[in-house]
Symmetry: C2
Subunit: 295 residues, 2 copies
């Protein structure tokens, strides 16, 4: 059985190199390309690409066929980080321990680098080779990427998050935010793999439930890390959610309650995986990683 470490060592460099080449290919002003690449190269776990690759592995497809879709998803994720960090949004100076994009390139270029990454992501999918995906499959991938990341998904979640600041939210309101702000793009990563593998509707439904649970687990773990992690682990000041007066799982459920909810979502995710009868060993290990991650 392949270990998660082996899997990560194989596929993380692959998507990172694809991201780099995609930017290098662009005929565009140097400052813009530099700014786009700076944030793409700022590191991170590449959890979304890995989820896509691991889903393909579950279907015994070559993970490589998901390379361009994985790069597209990472572009969308990266654009969202650049815009979230802006002075008018979270006003963060550090991201993964490095200066945020606007701190290096200025606010205007940072906004435009985000815009350009988002715009290019759709072409990355549109250009997937016809041997890998039919035109109809590519259109499904494009439509679902737009839904997952736009007003009805990630951007909507970010607006709801801003509206919730300084307010005492209900668990339902908090879940709406996280399902959209974080969960939708994680779910998309799994479902994009399923689309490329030509999964049945029934299996896609199961994978959607799986992804729903890991999406929430991811966010709960994030909230717990904000309280229990070190600056080195999380790359930003500890306790910044509390300082920003944000509702979090620990603030609503207590720290113990949040840990219990996290374990519940991890358990549900893994139970759902078993029912797919796929080759899910890597997906299971990623699920454990999400529950235990320290950065």
């Amino acid at each position: 059985m392949k270990s998660l470490d082996q899997f990560i060592n194989q596929y993380k460099p692959l998507v990172e190199s694809r991201l780099k080449s995609a930017i290098a290919e662009l005929e565009a002003p140097k400052a813009l390309k530099d700014s786009m690449l700076y944030s793409l190269e700022a590191g991170g776990k590449r959890i979304r690409p890995l989820l896509l690759f691991a889903t393909l592995e579950a279907f015994k497809c070559k993970p490589e066929i998901g390379l361009d879709a994985a790069a597209a998803i990472e572009m969308v994720h990266t654009y969202s980080l650049i815009h979230d960090d802006l002075p008018s949004m979270d006003d963060d100076d550090l991201r993964r321990g490095k200066p945020t994009n606007h701190k290096i390139y200025g606010e205007a270029t940072a906004i435009l680098a985000g815009d350009a990454l988002l715009t290019h992501s759709f072409k990355m999918i549109g250009n997937i080779s016809p041997e890998t995906a039919s035109a109809d499959t590519k259109l499904v991938l494009i439509n679902k990427l737009s839904e997952a990341s736009g007003a009805e998904g990630m951007v909507g979640g970010q607006v709801a998050d801003m509206e919730g600041e300084g307010k005492q939210l209900s668990l339902k309101e908090l879940e709406y935010i996280h399902i959209n702000k974080t969960g939708r793009l994680l779910t998309y990563s799994v479902l994009a793999g399923a689309e490329l593998a030509e999964a049945s509707e029934q299996v896609k439904d199961k994978l959607q439930v799986f992804a729903y649970h890991i999406g929430l687990a991811f966010q709960i773990r994030d909230d717990i890390l904000d309280l229990e992690g070190t600056v080195e682990q999380i790359g930003k000041p500890v306790g910044s959610d509390t300082d920003n007066d944000k509702s979090t799982y620990p603030s609503l459920l207590t720290l113990e309650g949040a840990k219990k909810a996290l374990q519940n979502h991890i358990d549900h995710a893994k139970q759902e995986l078993v029912t797919t009868n796929l080759n899910t060993s890597i997906l299971e290990q990623i699920t454990d990683l999400i529950g235990l991650r320290t950065s």
Copy 2:
């Protein structure tokens, strides 16, 4: 022969109503939808949708088949205006005589409304009905929209424009900026019509030359208006380019020289149209409108 006025009266309300319904259909936070709709409804000539409709008319196709693509283009154009107006970019308080988006909704929501409009535009095209466009045609439309509006097009032009501020640009540098910042999306509007009409490569090439000239004519007229227009006509302070120390066609060519260059591009555009042997009466009238427009 149909007059341009009749054409505008028929198709401008159509695209405006489609934009409105597209936003109404979204399940998203109210503040986000309001902010998106505010800028979509801020008026304007809808020159891009009209170019697309007029191109379809030139092929004797029903302009209505271009409705969703036209709405998508207007969304991209509107997102670019919202982001351009931001304090870190042009810092404009007024747009078409009305407060800019961030003046009403705040900077964070304005950025996100722009992001959401851009994101949704790709789904608008992805969802064009299969009777109107094949999956392959839709992918061409998506890829070309990404190219025209991203790092290699509009966003790249905007970065070059910012880099050029306070510098004496050459005519070549100024043209690079405008071909990308304004021209590419105008050209796309024409070519999207040609794609939907299943035009031959030869005719598409001719229409691309036509669109290149009207794109530059559009920008030169803009620069002239900035000097000769009234606040009421242009919806912003007269002479703001000069105040912002921007290179313009009149500053490089003199006002007389700019007017001559404008007429040259209009003439070339119309000459190219004639060679297509299409039903180009509305496109010709739009070309004249671009040369003479006062707002």
